[in-house]
């Protein structure tokens, strides 16, 4: 029972409310924090397993110094911009309508032309918007008069990344699980989302580097004795480099030894066009 009369108290009482799906985690919020800090900063070697694709280019263990961008973090409701049926599935109501994104995090910075969206319902990175590009409605060019060459030029989507496919996270068997959002915390100004996916307790940190041209996504997973898998949309794979794990098609398999930290680095800018060959 609580005494509701405000009193001038010292900071020696217990931490906050304990109702939580993480019985060991919540009363010990600080303990949870310490675990992740211990796990951080370590890049673990990842063997290539038989039958798997060759590992992708990986972030080196001593990456060049990169300056994180000071982030502006807000939560807001937004019209659902997803278009892929599987990605929309968690937002579909029983009557079939698609709900707004009401638990959305928007991460950006005044100096960066990108807005990063992460949602607490599906517990996934939903997309990255290039705010300098026209919106999707505007990007659809009007049809030219009929009779001519009807090559329609459409502007590129303003979304550099847009989620598609089922939930990104799965256990070692690849079986999907409905994620349950727990909360988020700030680590050096970077949001770290905490959620469970089946038996896995996931910490997912998002931030921007290199003037906002690189998006970083760090996963740290507890209770992953057999590792875990991350399924990315096919279009994202060409933009991403990972610090650990092996690819098979669009699925990154992370072994247990690397579960403490896997960093995905997304290039948000388009590649420079190849220089024209001249003799």
């Amino acid at each position: 029972m609580f005494d509701v009369i405000p009193t001038d108290i010292t900071l020696d009482s217990n931490p906050g409310y304990s109702a939580s799906p993480f019985p060991a985690m919540v009363p010990a919020t600080s303990a949870f924090l310490k675990i992740s800090v211990l796990a951080g900063g370590m890049l673990l070697a990842c063997p290539v397993l038989p039958g798997q694709d060759a590992p992708p280019p990986q972030a080196t263990s001593s990456p060049p110094v990169s300056i994180p961008v000071k982030l502006d973090i807000s939560r807001r409701s937004l019209k659902n911009f997803l278009t892929d049926e599987a990605a929309l599935s968690p937002y579909r109501s029983p009557d079939g309508t698609i709900g707004e994104l009401t638990g959305l995090f928007m991460i950006g910075s005044g100096s960066v032309p990108y807005a990063v969206f992460w949602d607490s319902l599906s517990c996934r990175l939903l997309g990255v918007l290039d705010i300098t590009r026209p919106g999707e409605a505007e990007s659809v060019a009007p049809l030219p008069p009929s009779g001519g060459d009807e090559t329609v030029k459409t502007a590129p989507s303003p979304y550099v990344l847009k989620a598609s496919g089922p939930a990104q996270f799965s256990g070692p068997t690849g079986s999907p699980a409905t994620p349950v959002y727990f909360g988020f915390r700030l680590i050096d100004g970077k949001p770290e989302f905490l959620y469970t996916s089946g038996p896995l307790a996931v910490e997912e940190r998002i931030w921007l580097e290199e003037g906002g041209t690189l998006l970083k996504q760090r996963f740290s997973v507890r209770d992953a004795a057999k590792g875990f898998r991350i399924l990315l949309p096919a279009e994202w794979k060409e933009r991403v480099a990972v610090s650990a794990g092996t690819w098979k098609n669009e699925t990154l398999t992370v072994p247990a030894e690397a579960a403490g930290e896997v960093i995905l680095t997304y290039r948000l800018t388009d590649r420079e066009p190849e220089p024209a060959v001249s003799n």
């Binding site: 509701v4 108290i9 009482s13 931490p15 304990s18 919020t29 988020f184």
Partner: protein, 431 residues
């Protein structure tokens, strides 16, 4: 630069609460450095820590801390969190200077886990409730009650097929898993406040009714810690108890509610930010029915969206142009209260009235507006009390189920001041 200690008050916990698995914490108190600033916080909600410090929610959804002198002069403020939450305009205090906020879809508790006077951990305490999958959302709250529960208002929803859709006030207790409905309402609850005795005052949403704004007063059933998950039986039903006429607010809906104490009486204050009118309700209970006077308390210089009582009778407001002290100011000449008498009504004023004008019956108009439609004008005979601060208006019988509209057309004070509002109202449910 002012170093303001934040004597952040929270609920102190007893030994029966969760086991602390953390290492012993420092007993040093955190400080927020309040730098001099000309910037004015845009305040949407306030929660006092004590008589001098508050947390507030600004228009961008950020939580700040502000310090005041005993006379409510603002000493300084700073952000306690830069995160922009999608929060409803209400804050509640948790243990260890944590702050509870709610969005339509989540009850969130924010902690300063590393004790650097910045919130850095935001836990989703509640994301599911009855009807959540059918579009039921949080419409108001969080508000803490005297039993340590967090009360939230949910939008109307039908829990079982065939049942009418009802809005609900639900209670969440940190030690108990089940969310308990504590009252039901046919109308959506826009805002609510709870006093120390468990009386809930709710602003009910009635979009089609333009002549006034409904407030309900409902006694919360006592919390039985031995049966924490038990729903009240019978379930209290929130009915519109009082009507704030739109003419008193200049058609501007009151946005929040606050219980305050002055002159030994408990009042309910409601700000109307656009018109800058401040409404005062003096609730009275007859049997199990609430009724009472509805008055214009003042017109503020700056808009007020949120009001808190810092300590008994010390009232602070806040709005888009910063904090606004609402007590200790010179009070305009006004009607302070209406009470029912056997043979009419009694008007109380805060200054002696002009006896010459006050004795003229034509300077008064009393109408009984039936709650179910129709109105009657009552003939009045004024009798001025000896101190000149009360007038008995003898009338014909006043029936229950009416709103009394009393207008004093030309009733200056003894010193010639004009009434702040010539109109005052009383909702009569029972005689």
């Amino acid at each position: 630069m002012v170093l303001a200690s934040l004597p952040y008050a929270g609920y102190s916990q007893t030994d029966s609460t969760a086991v602390d698995t953390n290492p012993p914490e420092s007993k040093e108190r955190p400080f927020v450095t309040l730098n001099p600033t000309d910037q004015v916080p845009q305040v949407r909600a306030i929660i006092p820590m004590d008589g001098a410090n508050v947390f507030f929610l600004n228009h961008r959804g950020q939580i700040g801390a502000a310090k005041f002198s005993p006379g409510l002069s603002q000493i300084g403020w700073d952000l306690y969190s830069e995160i922009k939450l999608n929060a409803l305009p209400s804050l509640a205090l948790g243990p260890n200077y944590s702050i509870l906020t709610a969005s339509e879809n989540e009850l969130t508790q924010a902690f300063d886990s590393d004790k650097n006077a910045q919130l850095d951990f935001f836990q989703a305490l509640l994301q599911d409730w009855p009807g959540r999958g059918k579009g039921v959302t949080i419409t108001a709250g969080p508000v803490a009650d005297q039993w340590g529960r967090i009360i939230l208002a949910l939008s109307p929803g039908s829990l079982n097929e065939g049942q009418p859709a009802r809005a609900r006030l639900v209670a969440w207790h940190p030690e108990h898993k089940k969310l308990v409905t504590v009252t039901e309402s046919e109308l959506l609850i826009d805002a609510f406040a709870i006093n120390r005795d468990g009386l809930v005052a709710s602003r009910l949403h009635m979009a089609d009714y333009k002549d006034g704004y409904f407030v309900s007063l409902t006694d919360l059933p006592s919390f039985d810690s031995k049966q924490p998950d038990a729903s009240p039986d019978p379930m209290p039903f929130t009915l519109p108890s009082l009507v704030i006429p739109a003419e008193l607010t200049k058609n501007d809906p009151p946005v929040q509610l606050c219980f305050a104490h002055e002159g030994g009486k408990e009042k309910l204050l409601l700000p109307c930010p656009k018109s800058k009118h401040l409404i005062e309700i003096l609730p009275e209970k007859l049997g199990n029915i609430w009724q009472g006077s509805i008055l214009l308390r003042g017109k503020t210089e700056r808009p007020v969206e949120s009001i808190v009582e810092m300590s008994s009778g010390v009232i602070l407001g806040g709005g888009s142009e910063g904090f606004v002290p609402l007590s200790g100011l010179s009070e305009p000449y006004r009607i302070m209260r209406i009470t029912l008498a056997k043979d009419g009504v009694i008007l109380f004023f805060n200054r002696s009235i002009d006896r010459f004008e006050g004795s003229k019956p034509e300077n008064y108009s009393v109408k009984a507006i039936a709650l179910n439609g129709g109105e009657t004008t009552l003939a009045v005979v004024p009798v001025i009390e000896s101190d000149g601060k009360a007038v008995i208006l003898k009338t014909n019988a006043i029936s229950a189920g009416t709103v009394l509209r009393v207008v004093c057309q030309n009733l200056p004070s003894e010193k010639g001041e004009t009434l702040l509002s010539s109109a005052a109202f009383y909702t009569v449910h029972r005689r």
